[in-house]
Symmetry: C2
Subunit: 137 residues, 2 copies
Amino acid sequence: MYSIGDLSRRTGVKAPTIRYYEQMGLLEAPQRSEGNQRRFAKAELERLAFIRHARDLGLTINSIRQLIDLSGHADRPCADADRIAKEQLASVRDRIAKLQKLEEELERIATCCTGETIGDCYVIRALSNHSLCGHEH
Amino acid sequence: MYSIGDLSRRTGVKAPTIRYYEQMGLLEAPQRSEGNQRRFAKAELERLAFIRHARDLGLTINSIRQLIDLSGHADRPCADADRIAKEQLASVRDRIAKLQKLEEELERIATCCTGETIGDCYVIRALSNHSLCGHEH
DNA sequence: CTAATTGCTCTAGTGACTAGAGGTTCAAGA
DNA sequence: TCTTGAACCTCTAGTCACTAGAGCAATTAG
Protein backbone atom coordinates (compact mmCIF):
# COMPACT_ATOMS: atom_id res chain seq x y z
CA MET A 1 0.00 0.00 0.00
CA TYR A 2 1.29 3.42 -0.97
CA SER A 3 0.52 6.79 0.56
CA ILE A 4 -0.18 9.60 -1.85
CA GLY A 5 3.39 10.82 -1.36
CA ASP A 6 4.82 7.38 -2.23
CA LEU A 7 2.72 7.31 -5.36
CA SER A 8 3.81 10.82 -6.23
CA ARG A 9 7.51 9.94 -5.90
CA ARG A 10 7.13 6.75 -7.92
CA THR A 11 5.25 8.34 -10.81
CA GLY A 12 6.44 11.93 -10.78
CA VAL A 13 2.83 13.11 -10.54
CA LYS A 14 2.25 15.70 -7.80
CA ALA A 15 -0.09 14.82 -4.97
CA PRO A 16 -2.70 17.52 -5.75
CA THR A 17 -2.76 16.28 -9.33
CA ILE A 18 -3.38 12.72 -8.15
CA ARG A 19 -6.33 13.97 -6.08
CA TYR A 20 -7.52 15.89 -9.12
CA TYR A 21 -7.44 12.75 -11.27
CA GLU A 22 -9.46 10.94 -8.65
CA GLN A 23 -11.98 13.77 -8.63
CA MET A 24 -12.20 13.62 -12.44
CA GLY A 25 -12.94 9.91 -12.28
CA LEU A 26 -9.68 8.70 -13.84
CA LEU A 27 -8.61 6.98 -10.65
CA GLU A 28 -11.07 5.11 -8.52
CA ALA A 29 -11.48 6.27 -4.93
CA PRO A 30 -8.72 4.38 -3.10
CA GLN A 31 -8.88 2.71 0.29
CA ARG A 32 -8.33 4.91 3.32
CA SER A 33 -6.30 4.56 6.49
CA GLU A 34 -8.05 4.78 9.86
CA GLY A 35 -7.20 8.45 9.86
CA ASN A 36 -8.76 8.99 6.39
CA GLN A 37 -5.55 9.12 4.39
CA ARG A 38 -5.42 7.55 0.94
CA ARG A 39 -3.77 4.12 0.61
CA PHE A 40 -3.16 3.01 -2.96
CA ALA A 41 -2.69 -0.54 -4.23
CA LYS A 42 -0.37 -1.50 -7.07
CA ALA A 43 -3.19 -1.47 -9.61
CA GLU A 44 -3.68 2.22 -8.93
CA LEU A 45 0.01 2.88 -9.43
CA GLU A 46 -0.18 1.22 -12.83
CA ARG A 47 -3.26 3.13 -13.81
CA LEU A 48 -1.62 6.38 -12.80
CA ALA A 49 1.35 5.54 -15.01
CA PHE A 50 -1.10 4.91 -17.85
CA ILE A 51 -2.76 8.27 -17.25
CA ARG A 52 0.55 10.09 -17.07
CA HIS A 53 1.75 8.47 -20.25
CA ALA A 54 -1.43 9.41 -22.07
CA ARG A 55 -1.25 13.00 -20.77
CA ASP A 56 2.35 13.25 -21.92
CA LEU A 57 1.09 12.27 -25.35
CA GLY A 58 -1.33 15.17 -25.22
CA LEU A 59 -4.55 13.22 -24.71
CA THR A 60 -7.30 15.07 -22.87
CA ILE A 61 -8.78 13.88 -19.59
CA ASN A 62 -11.90 12.97 -21.51
CA SER A 63 -10.07 10.84 -24.05
CA ILE A 64 -8.23 9.11 -21.25
CA ARG A 65 -11.48 8.38 -19.47
CA GLN A 66 -12.76 6.77 -22.66
CA LEU A 67 -9.62 4.66 -23.03
CA ILE A 68 -9.88 3.51 -19.42
CA ASP A 69 -13.50 2.52 -19.97
CA LEU A 70 -12.46 0.63 -23.09
CA SER A 71 -9.60 -1.15 -21.40
CA GLY A 72 -12.08 -2.68 -18.98
CA HIS A 73 -13.71 -4.58 -21.84
CA ALA A 74 -11.04 -6.81 -23.31
CA ASP A 75 -13.53 -8.54 -25.61
CA ARG A 76 -14.78 -5.48 -27.47
CA PRO A 77 -13.37 -4.37 -30.84
CA CYS A 78 -10.55 -1.88 -30.49
CA ALA A 79 -11.71 0.45 -33.27
CA ASP A 80 -12.54 3.17 -30.75
CA ALA A 81 -9.10 3.08 -29.18
CA ASP A 82 -7.57 3.26 -32.63
CA ARG A 83 -9.74 6.20 -33.51
CA ILE A 84 -8.70 8.13 -30.41
CA ALA A 85 -5.02 7.56 -31.15
CA LYS A 86 -5.42 8.52 -34.81
CA GLU A 87 -7.36 11.67 -33.98
CA GLN A 88 -4.66 12.65 -31.54
CA LEU A 89 -2.00 12.07 -34.17
CA ALA A 90 -3.88 14.24 -36.64
CA SER A 91 -4.20 17.03 -34.11
CA VAL A 92 -0.50 16.88 -33.22
CA ARG A 93 0.42 17.12 -36.91
CA ASP A 94 -1.90 20.05 -37.32
CA ARG A 95 -0.31 21.87 -34.41
CA ILE A 96 3.17 21.21 -35.76
CA ALA A 97 2.24 22.66 -39.15
CA LYS A 98 0.82 25.80 -37.57
CA LEU A 99 3.82 26.28 -35.31
CA GLN A 100 6.19 25.89 -38.23
CA LYS A 101 4.52 28.77 -40.02
CA LEU A 102 4.88 30.88 -36.90
CA GLU A 103 8.50 29.88 -36.61
CA GLU A 104 9.19 31.10 -40.13
CA GLU A 105 7.57 34.43 -39.53
CA LEU A 106 9.03 34.98 -36.09
CA GLU A 107 12.44 34.14 -37.43
CA ARG A 108 12.11 36.81 -40.05
CA ILE A 109 10.81 39.32 -37.53
CA ALA A 110 13.35 38.54 -34.83
CA THR A 111 16.44 38.44 -36.99
CA CYS A 112 15.75 41.30 -39.38
CA CYS A 113 15.78 44.08 -36.83
CA THR A 114 18.81 46.24 -37.45
CA GLY A 115 17.33 49.39 -35.96
CA GLU A 116 18.62 50.82 -32.73
CA THR A 117 15.50 52.46 -31.36
CA ILE A 118 11.84 51.53 -31.18
CA GLY A 119 11.13 54.05 -33.93
CA ASP A 120 12.80 51.90 -36.56
CA CYS A 121 12.56 48.52 -34.84
CA TYR A 122 11.53 45.85 -37.30
CA VAL A 123 9.77 43.84 -34.60
CA ILE A 124 7.35 46.63 -33.84
CA ARG A 125 6.87 47.54 -37.47
CA ALA A 126 6.23 43.96 -38.49
CA LEU A 127 3.58 43.59 -35.83
CA SER A 128 1.92 46.87 -36.82
CA ASN A 129 1.99 46.22 -40.52
CA HIS A 130 0.58 42.97 -41.71
CA SER A 131 1.83 43.49 -45.25
CA LEU A 132 5.38 42.87 -44.06
CA CYS A 133 4.38 39.26 -43.45
CA GLY A 134 5.77 36.60 -45.71
CA HIS A 135 2.38 34.93 -46.15
CA GLU A 136 -1.17 35.51 -45.03
CA HIS A 137 -2.31 34.04 -41.71
CA MET B 1 -16.13 56.02 -35.78
CA TYR B 2 -16.78 52.30 -35.58
CA SER B 3 -19.18 50.46 -33.33
CA ILE B 4 -17.84 47.34 -31.66
CA GLY B 5 -19.61 45.28 -34.34
CA ASP B 6 -17.94 47.22 -37.14
CA LEU B 7 -14.58 46.70 -35.52
CA SER B 8 -15.32 43.04 -35.07
CA ARG B 9 -16.21 42.57 -38.74
CA ARG B 10 -13.17 44.49 -39.93
CA THR B 11 -10.67 42.61 -37.77
CA GLY B 12 -12.29 39.23 -37.30
CA VAL B 13 -12.05 39.64 -33.53
CA LYS B 14 -15.29 38.87 -31.71
CA ALA B 15 -16.95 41.65 -29.75
CA PRO B 16 -16.57 40.02 -26.32
CA THR B 17 -12.89 39.52 -27.07
CA ILE B 18 -12.52 43.21 -27.91
CA ARG B 19 -14.10 44.12 -24.57
CA TYR B 20 -11.78 41.65 -22.92
CA TYR B 21 -8.73 43.29 -24.49
CA GLU B 22 -9.97 46.64 -23.23
CA GLN B 23 -10.39 45.20 -19.75
CA MET B 24 -6.87 43.76 -19.92
CA GLY B 25 -5.50 47.18 -20.80
CA LEU B 26 -4.43 46.35 -24.36
CA LEU B 27 -6.95 48.75 -25.84
CA GLU B 28 -7.59 52.10 -24.25
CA ALA B 29 -11.15 52.83 -23.14
CA PRO B 30 -12.79 54.18 -26.31
CA GLN B 31 -15.19 57.08 -26.64
CA ARG B 32 -18.85 56.35 -26.00
CA SER B 33 -22.09 57.27 -27.75
CA GLU B 34 -24.80 59.15 -25.85
CA GLY B 35 -26.30 55.77 -25.06
CA ASN B 36 -22.99 54.47 -23.65
CA GLN B 37 -21.99 52.31 -26.61
CA ARG B 38 -18.34 52.12 -27.64
CA ARG B 39 -17.22 54.22 -30.62
CA PHE B 40 -13.75 53.41 -31.90
CA ALA B 41 -11.45 55.62 -33.94
CA LYS B 42 -9.12 54.38 -36.65
CA ALA B 43 -6.15 54.28 -34.26
CA GLU B 44 -7.98 51.68 -32.18
CA LEU B 45 -8.65 49.59 -35.26
CA GLU B 46 -4.96 49.58 -36.03
CA ARG B 47 -4.02 48.71 -32.51
CA LEU B 48 -6.49 45.85 -32.53
CA ALA B 49 -4.91 44.54 -35.73
CA PHE B 50 -1.53 44.72 -33.98
CA ILE B 51 -2.89 42.79 -31.01
CA ARG B 52 -4.50 40.17 -33.21
CA HIS B 53 -1.35 39.73 -35.21
CA ALA B 54 0.74 39.32 -32.08
CA ARG B 55 -1.77 36.82 -30.63
CA ASP B 56 -1.69 34.83 -33.87
CA LEU B 57 2.06 34.64 -33.38
CA GLY B 58 1.47 33.16 -29.96
CA LEU B 59 2.50 36.12 -27.84
CA THR B 60 0.83 36.35 -24.44
CA ILE B 61 -1.34 39.26 -23.38
CA ASN B 62 1.48 40.30 -21.07
CA SER B 63 4.09 40.34 -23.82
CA ILE B 64 1.73 42.33 -26.01
CA ARG B 65 1.19 44.85 -23.26
CA GLN B 66 4.94 45.27 -23.01
CA LEU B 67 5.27 45.75 -26.77
CA ILE B 68 2.50 48.34 -26.75
CA ASP B 69 4.21 50.21 -23.96
CA LEU B 70 7.47 50.07 -25.91
CA SER B 71 5.87 51.25 -29.13
CA GLY B 72 4.84 54.43 -27.37
CA HIS B 73 8.49 55.37 -26.87
CA ALA B 74 9.98 55.65 -30.35
CA ASP B 75 13.25 57.02 -29.00
CA ARG B 76 14.17 54.14 -26.70
CA PRO B 77 16.44 51.28 -27.76
CA CYS B 78 14.56 48.35 -29.22
CA ALA B 79 16.49 45.65 -27.38
CA ASP B 80 13.44 44.75 -25.30
CA ALA B 81 11.23 44.27 -28.34
CA ASP B 82 13.92 42.10 -29.89
CA ARG B 83 14.18 40.06 -26.75
CA ILE B 84 10.44 39.41 -26.64
CA ALA B 85 10.44 38.26 -30.26
CA LYS B 86 13.48 36.04 -29.76
CA GLU B 87 12.07 34.46 -26.61
CA GLN B 88 8.88 33.73 -28.46
CA LEU B 89 10.82 32.16 -31.30
CA ALA B 90 12.73 29.95 -28.88
CA SER B 91 9.51 28.83 -27.21
CA VAL B 92 7.90 28.02 -30.56
CA ARG B 93 10.91 25.94 -31.55
CA ASP B 94 10.78 24.14 -28.26
CA ARG B 95 7.12 23.28 -28.70
CA ILE B 96 7.75 22.03 -32.23
CA ALA B 97 10.51 19.72 -31.05
CA LYS B 98 8.31 18.27 -28.31
CA LEU B 99 5.38 17.77 -30.64
CA GLN B 100 7.57 16.02 -33.18
CA LYS B 101 8.58 13.46 -30.57
CA LEU B 102 4.93 12.90 -29.77
CA GLU B 103 4.15 12.56 -33.45
CA GLU B 104 6.71 9.82 -33.82
CA GLU B 105 5.41 7.87 -30.89
CA LEU B 106 1.74 8.34 -31.71
CA GLU B 107 2.41 7.26 -35.25
CA ARG B 108 3.92 4.04 -34.01
CA ILE B 109 1.07 3.48 -31.58
CA ALA B 110 -1.72 4.38 -33.99
CA THR B 111 -0.48 2.42 -36.98
CA CYS B 112 0.83 -0.72 -35.32
CA CYS B 113 -2.46 -1.97 -33.95
CA THR B 114 -3.42 -5.11 -35.81
CA GLY B 115 -5.50 -6.60 -33.04
CA GLU B 116 -9.23 -6.88 -33.32
CA THR B 117 -10.31 -6.55 -29.74
CA ILE B 118 -9.29 -4.37 -26.81
CA GLY B 119 -7.53 -7.37 -25.31
CA ASP B 120 -4.79 -7.30 -27.91
CA CYS B 121 -5.06 -3.67 -29.03
CA TYR B 122 -1.64 -2.11 -29.41
CA VAL B 123 -2.94 1.34 -28.46
CA ILE B 124 -4.02 0.20 -25.04
CA ARG B 125 -0.96 -1.94 -24.51
CA ALA B 126 1.40 0.84 -25.53
CA LEU B 127 -0.24 3.23 -23.08
CA SER B 128 -0.09 0.69 -20.29
CA ASN B 129 3.45 -0.37 -20.91
CA HIS B 130 6.00 2.35 -21.11
CA SER B 131 8.71 -0.02 -22.27
CA LEU B 132 7.02 -0.28 -25.66
CA CYS B 133 7.98 3.35 -26.26
CA GLY B 134 10.64 4.10 -28.82
CA HIS B 135 12.45 6.52 -26.52
CA GLU B 136 12.08 7.81 -23.01
CA HIS B 137 9.84 10.82 -22.35
C1' DC C 1 -43.61 53.90 -34.34
C1' DT C 2 -42.32 49.38 -34.02
C1' DA C 3 -39.55 45.43 -34.45
C1' DA C 4 -35.19 43.48 -35.08
C1' DT C 5 -30.67 43.92 -34.27
C1' DT C 6 -26.95 45.28 -31.77
C1' DG C 7 -25.02 46.77 -27.69
C1' DC C 8 -24.27 47.04 -22.46
C1' DT C 9 -22.64 44.87 -17.78
C1' DC C 10 -22.01 41.12 -14.91
C1' DT C 11 -21.31 36.39 -13.69
C1' DA C 12 -19.78 31.91 -14.52
C1' DG C 13 -17.62 28.22 -17.28
C1' DT C 14 -13.66 26.04 -20.01
C1' DG C 15 -9.06 22.58 -19.17
C1' DA C 16 -5.64 20.89 -16.42
C1' DC C 17 -3.91 21.87 -13.06
C1' DT C 18 -1.50 24.91 -8.93
C1' DA C 19 -1.45 27.53 -4.53
C1' DG C 20 -2.88 28.49 -0.11
C1' DA C 21 -5.58 28.30 4.31
C1' DG C 22 -6.55 25.91 8.20
C1' DG C 23 -6.82 21.77 10.29
C1' DT C 24 -5.60 16.37 11.18
C1' DT C 25 -2.74 12.14 11.10
C1' DC C 26 1.38 9.63 10.91
C1' DA C 27 6.15 7.93 11.93
C1' DA C 28 10.33 8.35 14.28
C1' DG C 29 13.24 9.75 17.98
C1' DA C 30 13.75 10.93 23.12
C1' DT D 1 4.70 7.13 26.10
C1' DC D 2 5.19 11.60 24.46
C1' DT D 3 6.43 14.98 21.24
C1' DT D 4 7.68 17.00 17.14
C1' DG D 5 7.73 17.75 12.35
C1' DA D 6 6.53 16.01 8.07
C1' DA D 7 2.95 14.52 5.40
C1' DC D 8 -1.82 14.41 4.77
C1' DC D 9 -6.85 16.09 4.59
C1' DT D 10 -10.70 19.27 2.46
C1' DC D 11 -12.09 23.41 0.46
C1' DT D 12 -11.66 27.58 -2.08
C1' DA D 13 -9.66 30.41 -5.41
C1' DG D 14 -6.36 31.51 -9.03
C1' DT D 15 -4.11 30.69 -13.75
C1' DC D 16 -4.79 31.93 -19.25
C1' DA D 17 -7.42 33.66 -23.00
C1' DC D 18 -11.25 33.66 -23.93
C1' DT D 19 -16.62 32.08 -24.45
C1' DA D 20 -21.54 31.74 -23.08
C1' DG D 21 -25.53 33.37 -21.10
C1' DA D 22 -28.80 36.38 -18.44
C1' DG D 23 -31.25 40.41 -18.36
C1' DC D 24 -31.61 44.78 -19.86
C1' DA D 25 -30.78 49.31 -22.96
C1' DA D 26 -29.75 51.62 -27.38
C1' DT D 27 -29.81 51.90 -32.21
C1' DT D 28 -31.48 51.40 -36.90
C1' DA D 29 -34.41 49.97 -40.87
C1' DG D 30 -38.83 49.85 -42.62
